[in-house]
Symmetry: C2
Subunit: 146 residues, 2 copies
DNA sequence: AAAATATACTTGCATGAACAAGTATATTAA
DNA sequence: TTAATATACTTGTTCATGCAAGTATATTTT
């Protein structure tokens, strides 16, 4: 237990929280400016489907470290935007497989470039070495808390 | 612009996002386990009031880097929990001053200790030097994006 | 003083998150 | 084979966020 007086501004939680929020907001803004009607969270799902199309909701939830309820509603919204579709599993009727639509596939490169652009904006002036070190520390924090 | 293939798992945004979420969740959990009915975001407001009681909503929004609408509703929820109160400004009737209730003051130490505990949990196994470096990088990211 | 603008705050809407409870279908155990 | 349990997904509730629009009050301009 630390004995320092607590100061919100200087705390790890606060800095993480704000850096994360600013980065999500910036990506959303970059998407919007380029007429991609997709949120950061939806992009997390799409990104997994670009790696491999036709995954179950459960698997998408696991690899994105979120609960099924959350993924279920993200998929609802992606469907509403015409970017993915639900298909029943051939033998197991509990399972939905999620597939990209043509439109979903079409926007892949655009989204990826904006994601890369956002990372570049966020890491401006930070050395490759510092960035690597930070990513490793973030991994350690995630490991500690999961 | 980077030329690497985009990989969500390895990206700064993803790691920030998840580290931040895990940390908020852990703090919420720590609050809950100790019967403090307060969210991380509400704690951000309370923490400012512990530094100085009787601030305007606008000022709370500025120092916490969020919009007034968000603060307005956080205050609503803090009032619902009996932790703060709105008082009209003496001369300027547009302004609310936010004050801690007795109950709000009473829980200060408990909340602070749990915030410190959460930071300790998150930074387990990370050297003081690495942690300092990471906080500085997070500041740089915030500076880049704000 | 009246009109225009700025400030402080609130409300509405869409999105997302955590948690708990519910539904349908599969699998396992008795 | 029936009952119990596990799995995959959905829905309801409360809280939070971003954005835009709305209300009330102050201040500035004309």
């Amino acid at each position: 237990m630390s004995f320092n007086k607590y100061q919100l501004d200087e705390s790890l939680g606060y800095k993480l929280f704000h850096a994360s929020r600013l980065m999500s907001n910036r990506l959303n803004q970059n998407f919007k400016e380029n007429d991609f009607n997709v949120t950061y969270e939806q992009w997390q799902i799409l990104s997994r489907l670009y790696e491999q199309d036709g995954q179950t909701q459960n698997h998408l939830a696991q690899i994105n470290e979120r609960d099924q309820a959350s993924v279920s509603r993200l998929i609802d919204n992606l469907i509403k935007r015409g970017l993915v579709m639900r298909r029943p599993h051939q033998t197991d009727r509990r399972i939905n497989l999620i597939y990209l639509t043509e439109e979903g596939k079409r926007i892949q490169l655009g989204l990826e470039n904006l994601a890369l652009k956002t990372i570049d904006e966020a890491s401006f002036g930070i050395s490759k070495q510092d960035l690597e070190r930070t990513l490793a520390i973030l991994d350690q924090i995630r490991e500690n808390l999961k």
